[in-house]
C-alpha cells in the first residue's frame, strides 16, 4: 500500500532532478567552458586534466573507502603529501630510488594504520582523530621540509617516469595507473565477499557484528586499502610535481570529499546511493575539469574556492535527500 505506483508529478520531477542531477551538472560545466572559449578542450589541456584527475581520483577513492565504512578521513590529503615529502627528501639525500618510493609508500600506510588504531581500536570519533592527524602531519611535513619547497636536484633516471612519461607519446602513465585501479576496485567491490561485508558494516555496525562479520578486522582492511591508495597518490605526486611543499595537496580536500559523495548517486538508478568506485572516479574527473577550467579562464583562486564549497554542499544536500527518500520508500514497501 505504498506510493510507489502512483507518483505525483512533483515526485516524478524531483526524482528526475535527483537521479540525473549529476549528469545535468556535468553537461552544464562542459557547455560553460566551451562557450566561454577557454582552451579547456585542447588536447594538451585534456591531458593535464587527466593528470590532475589521477591524483585527485586516487585520494577520492581512498576517502570513499573510509566513507563506505562510515568514517570520515580528513587527513587523506596530508597523508599523500607525507608520502611525497618522504620520497623527495630521500631522493635529495641520494637514497636508492626504488627504496625511497617504497619508504614513502609505507609511510602512507603507517599513517593510515595509526588512524585505524585511533578510530577502530581506541574508539575515537573518526573526525576528531583524523583532524588531529591532519594538523599533526601538517606540522610534521612543514618541519621536514623546513618550510621550503624541495625539489630533487639530480633526479635519478626514471624519476619522472610515472608523472611525466607518455605511453605512445600520448597517455600519461599516471592516468593508466588511475584507470587500472578504478577498474580493479570496481570489479572488487562487485565481486568480493569481503567488499560486500564492508558495505554491510557501513550500513549498521551492530547488525553486521550480529551476523558474524568481523567488524574490527574489516575496518582495518579498509584503512589499509585506503593507505595503499594514498601511498600511490603520493608517489605519483612526487613524480608529477617534482617538488614538495607543505600545503601542496591541500587543494584536493574539498574536491575529494565532493567526489566521494557525488559518486554515490551515479549508476545506481533507484537503488540506495552508496559511494562506489566508478562514480567516485567519474566525479573526480568532472571536478578536475572544473578546476582546470577555472585556471584556463584565468579566474582568481577564490572563485574556485567558493564554487567548490557550493558544489560540496549541493552534493551533500542531494545525497542526503536521496538517502532519505530511499529510506522512506523502503519503509513504505515493508
Amino acid at each position: 500500500m505504498g506510493h510507489s505506483n502512483s507518483e505525483t508529478t512533483k515526485n516524478k520531477l524531483s526524482r528526475m532532478v535527483l537521479d540525473y542531477g549529476v549528469l545535468f551538472l556535468a553537461i552544464t560545466i562542459f557547455l560553460f567552458f566551451i562557450l566561454a572559449e577557454s582552451k579547456v578542450f585542447h588536447i594538451e589541456n585534456l591531458l593535464t586534466i587527466l593528470r590532475q584527475a589521477s591524483i585527485l581520483g586516487l585520494i577520492s577513492l581512498a576517502l570513499m573507502i573510509t566513507v563506505i565504512v562510515g568514517d570520515f578521513d580528513i587527513s587523506v590529503t596530508f597523508n599523500a603529501n607525507f608520502a611525497c615529502t618522504i620520497i623527495v627528501i630521500l631522493v635529495l639525500n641520494n637514497v636508492n630510488f626504488p627504496l625511497a618510493l617504497l619508504l614513502g609508500f609505507l609511510g602512507s600506510i603507517l599513517i593510515s594504520m595509526i588512524n585505524c588504531t585511533m578510530v577502530v581500536f581506541v574508539g575515537l570519533p573518526s573526525f576528531v582523530a583524523t583532524i588531529g592527524m591532519k594538523f599533526f602531519l601538517e606540522g610534521l611535513c612543514r618541519g621536514m621540509t623546513e618550510n621550503k619547497q624541495l625539489f630533487p636536484i639530480n633526479p635519478p633516471p626514471g624519476y619522472f617516469f610515472i608523472g611525466r612519461y607518455l605511453v605512445f607519446d600520448f597517455i600519461p602513465v599516471q592516468v593508466i595507473i588511475f584507470i587500472v585501479i578504478t577498474l580493479l576496485l570496481t570489479i572488487y567491490f562487485r565481486v568480493s565477499k569481503r567488499a560486500r561485508y564492508i558495505h554491510a558494516l557501513g550500513e549498521s555496525v551492530e547488525t553486521a557484528s550480529h551476523v558474524g562479520i568481523h567488524v574490527k578486522r574489516l575496518r582495518f582492511f579498509a584503512y589499509l586499502l585506503s593507505g595503499i591508495l594514498l601511498g600511490l597518490a603520493g608517489i605519483i605526486g612526487s613524480s608529477m610535481y617534482g617538488i614538495t611543499a607543505s600545503g601542496m595537496m591541500e587543494g584536493y580536500l574539498i574536491p575529494a570529499l565532493t567526489s566521494a559523495f557525488l559518486g554515490a548517486s551515479f549508476i545506481r538508478h533507484g537503488k540506495k546511493p552508496i559511494s562506489n568506485p566508478p562514480g567516485t572516479a567519474l566525479s573526480a574527473m568532472i571536478l578536475a575539469l572544473l578546476t582546470n577550467g577555472f585556471t584556463m579562464l584565468g579566474l582568481p583562486f577564490y572563485y574556485k574556492q567558493t564554487i567548490e564549497g557550493c558544489i560540496l554542499i549541493g552534493t551533500m544536500i542531494m545525497v542526503t535527500l536521496l538517502m532519505k527518500r530511499h529510506i522512506q520508500i523502503k519503509r513504505q514497501r515493508l
Binding site: D71, L257, I307
Partner: protein, 333 residues
C-alpha cells in the same frame, strides 16, 4: 588469590577521576610554576594578562564551538566566519561607515552565517561536519573575494576603534581579555544555569529522549549555531580592531587551537562532556604551553604538532572513559 580491598579500589578510582577531571588545571599550574623559575618575568601581572590576551580570541571561538558540541553537532567553519567578519569590518571602515554601525553589521553577518550553516544541517539533515567544511570553503572564497586575496587595511580609523581589540584599560588589562571574561561569564551562565542550557545538554545527550520530553530539538540546534555565529562575528570585530587589518589567512591561527581547547575542555572537569568552564581552562593551558615553547625557542612547526598530540591524548582519555558525549560522525540519516 589476591584480595583487593574495596577501599583500595575506591581510592584508585578516585585518584583516576581526580587526575582526569582536574588534569588540565593541575598541568597548567605545574607548568606555570616551572616557567616562572625559567624566566622571572613570567609571573608578573602584566605577563599573566598577556597570556590571557594571547588566547582571548581563541577562547571566545572555543566557547562558541563548545555550545555546538553540546548539542551534538560540529562546526568547522567558525574560524572562517570570524575571518570574513574581520575583513568586512575593515572594508566598511575603509568606506567611512561609522564605528558602531560597522560593528553591528559585522556581528549580524557572523550570526547570519551561523544561521545559514544551520539550514542544511537541521532542516535537510546533512551531516554537520561535511556541511561546515563546505561552508568554510565558501566563506573563505568570499573573504578572499572581498579582499582580493590580499591583506586589507584602512588609512585612518575612527576614534574609539581600538576599544575592542587593542586598548588597555586601567593600565594593565587588555580589552580582549575583558571581552573574553564577559563572554565566558555569559556562556557559563547560559549553559549551566538556565533552562535553555539544560535543554542543550539534553539534546546532545540523547536526542530521542529530548524529543519525547518535549524539547524543540530543531530550535535548540538552531540556537547553538546562532550562538557560534554571533561569537564568531564578535571575534571578527575584535580581530579587526586588534590588528587594524583584514587578513584572509588569519583563520588558520585560530581554527585548530579552538578545536583543541573545546575537546580538551570536554575532558577536564566533566569527564567527556563539553563544558564552558573546561574549555576556558583548556585555553589557558594552551596559552601557557605555547608561551613555554617560545621561551625554550622551539621551531614554529612544533606548535601544531603539540596541539595535535594534546588533542589526540585528551580525546583518547574521553573515549576510554566512555562517559563522554562526543558524537561520532557517521552517515546516520
Amino acid at each position: 588469590m589476591k584480595l583487593t580491598s574495596l577501599s583500595a579500589i575506591k581510592n584508585q578510582r578516585l585518584a583516576q577521576t581526580i587526575i582526569i577531571k582536574y588534569g588540565v588545571v593541575i598541568t597548567t599550574l605545574i607548568l606555570f610554576i616551572i616557567f616562572s623559575f625559567v624566566s622571572p618575568s613570567f609571573i608578573t601581572i602584566k605577563n599573566i594578562f598577556n597570556l590571557i590576551n594571547n588566547v582571548a580570541i581563541t577562547g571566545i571561538l572555543a566557547l562558541g564551538l563548545t555550545a555546538v558540541l553540546i548539542v551534538g553537532e560540529y562546526d568547522i567553519s567558525f574560524a572562517a566566519n570570524a575571518t570574513i567578519c574581520s575583513i568586512i569590518s575593515i572594508a566598511l571602515l575603509r568606506l567611512n561607515v561609522p564605528l558602531v554601525p560597522t560593528w553591528l553589521i559585522v556581528v549580524f553577518t557572523g550570526l547570519f552565517i551561523g544561521f545559514v550553516n544551520s539550514l542544511s544541517i537541521i532542516y535537510i539533515g546533512v551531516p554537520s561536519f561535511v556541511s561546515t567544511v563546505g561552508m568554510m570553503s565558501i566563506i573563505l572564497g568570499l573573504a578572499n573575494t572581498i579582499s582580493k586575496g590580499a591583506v586589507i587595511s584602512s588609512p585612518r580609523f575612527p576614534p574609539g576603534f581600538t576599544v575592542l581589540g587593542r586598548q588597555i584599560f586601567w593600565g594593565v588589562v587588555p580589552s580582549s581579555v575583558i571581552w573574553f571574561a564577559i563572554i565566558t561569564i555569559l556562556m557559563i551562565y547560559l549553559l549551566e544555569y538556565t533552562v535553555i542550557g539544560r535543554e542543550m545538554y539534553a539534546v546532545g545527550g540523547n536526542k530521542e529522549a529530548a524529543i519525547r520530553v518535549g524539547i524543540n530539538v530543531k530550535r535548540i540546534k538552531l540556537l547553538a549555531f546562532i550562538i557560534i555565529g554571533f561569537l564568531s562575528g564578535v571575534c571578527g570585530a575584535i580581530i579587526g580592531s586588534r590588528y587594524g587589518a583584514g587578513n584572509p589567512r588569519i583563520e588558520t591561527s585560530f581554527q585548530f587551537p579552538s578545536i583543541v581547547a573545546a575537546f580538551m575542555g570536554a575532558v577536564s572537569l566533566r569527564e567527556g562532556l563539553p563544558n564552558p568552564t573546561g574549555t576556558v581552562t583548556a585555553v589557558l593551558l594552551i596559552s601557557v604551553i605555547q608561551n613555554g615553547l617560545v621561551l625554550i625557542g622551539a621551531p614554529l612547526f612544533i606548535k601544531e604538532m603539540t596541539l595535535g598530540i594534546l588533542m589526540l591524548f585528551s580525546v583518547t582519555i574521553v573515549a576510554s572513559m566512555k562517559n563522554g558525549n562526543i558524537s561520532s560522525v557517521t552517515m546516520n540519516f
